[in-house]
């Protein structure tokens, strides 16, 4: 599971898409999910959410591989399962549970919001985050974020190895014991990174923000789709 998580922050670097497009699409999706979902009519809400889900999965497929889609679907399943468990518990404890369809739709909405964040994480390169933060005058945060995101995967893999070892050593009874070796590992690894930075420095990225044809097409298609999803439900209700 930890190894799967490591892939959340991986991206395809050969995508020739402008940073503006990469920022616009996830932000537009998040704003739509926050402000434009029509919750008065369940059927229309479902239509809006399913369309957004299809859009997000298509983008994830375009960005990368099947692995990312599988991770996204696992993510959705975990959220829905948690919702169902809570609902079953509330029935068992004689509370009045939320309607099943409401629960599923709101869970879907939360998932889609997280998928939009995932798109941003997988689509925008680490160097582009660094560039954005530096433009905002946050140079130190830009450096920290760059290193954390770049070194996230190998550290997670070491953490997964430590968990395996401690579970077998203590029979799964004292998982909290994993903290100490992990701190020591992280300190040593961090020190090695500091040495490498001393020798190689932190190079500035070369970011292209120019908009190409593909960017115009993507922005137009997403914008039209979102506007239609906003307008159509109102006509249908009237």
């Amino acid at each position: 599971m930890l190894r799967e998580l490591a892939y959340i922050f991986t991206y395809r670097a050969d995508l020739k898409i402008s940073l503006i497009t990469k920022l616009y699409i996830p932000i537009a999706l998040m704003l739509f999910l926050l402000l434009a979902i029509n919750s008065k009519n369940i059927l229309l809400t479902a239509t809006q959410l399913i369309t957004i889900l299809i859009l997000e999965l298509s983008i994830l497929m375009y960005i990368g591989s099947l692995k990312r889609i599988v991770s996204a679907i696992i993510f959705i399943t975990i959220f829905i399962s948690i919702g169902l468990v809570i609902r079953t518990l509330s029935i068992a404890l004689s509370y009045e549970p939320t309607a099943l369809e409401d629960m599923i739709l709101s869970t879907l909405r939360v998932i889609e919001f997280f998928l939009a964040i995932t798109i941003a994480l997988q689509w925008i390169k680490v160097s582009e985050y660094r560039w954005i933060f530096k433009k905002l005058g946050l140079s130190n945060i830009a450096t920290l974020l760059t290193l954390v995101l770049t070194q996230f995967s190998p550290i997670l893999i070491a953490y997964s190895e430590a968990l395996t070892t401690i579970r077998l050593k203590y029979g799964g009874k004292a998982l909290q014991k994993v903290v100490k070796p992990l701190i020591i590992y992280s300190l040593n690894y961090g020190r090695d990174i500091a040495e490498a930075i001393y020798m190689y420095g932190i190079s500035e990225p070369d970011i292209e923000v120019a908009i190409e044809k593909v960017d115009v097409m993507l922005i137009v298609v997403i914008t039209i789709a979102l506007i239609q999803l906003c307008i159509i439900p109102n006509y249908v209700i009237q």
Binding site: A6, F9, T10, Y11, A13, D14, K67, V70, K125, V126, S127, T146, L147, L149, T150, Q151, S153, P154, I157, A158, E161, A162, T164, T165, I166, R167, L168, K169, Y170, G171, K173, A174, K177, V178, K180, P181, L182, I184, Y185, N188, Y189, R191, D192, I193, A194, E195, A196, I197, Y198, M199, Y200, G201, I202, S203, E204, P205, D206
Partner: protein, 471 residues
Amino acid sequence: MKKVLEVRDLWFRYPNSDWILKSLNLDVYEGETLLIIGKSGCGKTTLIRTLVGTGVNIYGGEIRGRVIADGRGLEEYSVEELRRVIQIVNQDPRTHFIYPNVYEDLYSYSLHIYGAREKAKEILDEISKYLGIKHILNRLYFELSGGELKRVAIAKAMLSKPKIVMFDEPFMWLDDIGVKNFLDVLARLKNSGITIVVFEHRFIPLINHVSRVLKFSNGSLNEVPLNILKKVHHTLFHSKIANASSVLNNKRVVEINGVWFRYNDIPILKNISMHINEWDRIAIYGNNGSGKSTLLKIIAGYLKPKKGYVKRFGRAIYIPQLITLFFTEESIEQELKNICRSSRNSKDCYSKGYSILRNYGFDDLTQTPFNLSWGQQEKLAITLSLAAGFNIFLLDEPFSGLTYIDRIALIDYLETIPGAKIVTISSSDSISLLRGFKLYKLNDGLLTEYTPDAETLHSIDYNTLIQIYRD
């Protein structure tokens, strides 16, 4: 020949430590390939840190003496200038990356050095062609194999066209393919006239590639004649591997039958069957990514096979490649107490464990396991597990951080430990040391009994090794 690095009366110590470098002298000549060997923890990495300034600037150490690189004192260089004279490739090349994508990382560094986009691209193109990494430029660094990663790290070091390149334990974590890959790059660098200094205790693969060898011990360097190193593996080994010990009434402890395992629908293990008896010593040899660790975790019961079954008639413990991840307490005594809590009779386990640890040479139980040498940590992990009643020991690449002498010592130690021992290895230079082990090869998901060829079974002349490392 012109000297490119001159070190005179160099002393170095970390804050609150004894002197690690003691009046060290060193001359490195232009275009030569120098090998520096030494025991684990003798201070090889400290020497590198001192030569490039990280010892003082990152660790706050104290330095005395003089280092002259390319005609100028080290203190006269800015960090930017020093990058064009000396470069280092660390033990763990993953730490070199600022950006995850290989091209992005190398290109931004090239741009940082040369300023102009065209020039940065041209130099990167030239170096990546020369080192044969063009096909992996668009990959993420953590998806690369150990050998590819090392090659990319070398390319990054070469971008500033330094006069001297230093390698800190370049064979660490590398399998046979990675070692071959590194030697190929080394030959290319030598041809281009760069001065190379390699710090490595696994010297056998390097013997025919270096011009001089120095031994680091007691804080200083002494020359070792190359012919003595060549003597270490001169004759063919009459394998004791084939005569793996057979013990009467040897009880079966693991039964593996038709095991299959997949990661993301890719089969890693295909129809693996194997029986392990109580006194067996087994070595599983295979390249990185061949599924050795996965197989150990399946034997341990941590991973479930997709098909087939594993039956254990005993308790299995997994000892990871990164041995420090095994320890959780600040003293050996606390380690013993905690590991005994998981056994059925913890009081009995503790009193027995106490004497087991002493019998195996761990007298000072108050010392912290994290400060022990790599080899001692491996031994401690095995002994603690023995004390807690484990009898199936699964050691993932236990030899990767050890000198040849430490490897032999660990193999001898394993012989004295009751229980089944299964070790994985990814480099063939350990094979000839594995006395009494049954050898298997894991390749393309299939596990087969393995008989090494004559070239692999070189002998290690233990007496000559002792002579080399004698202080």
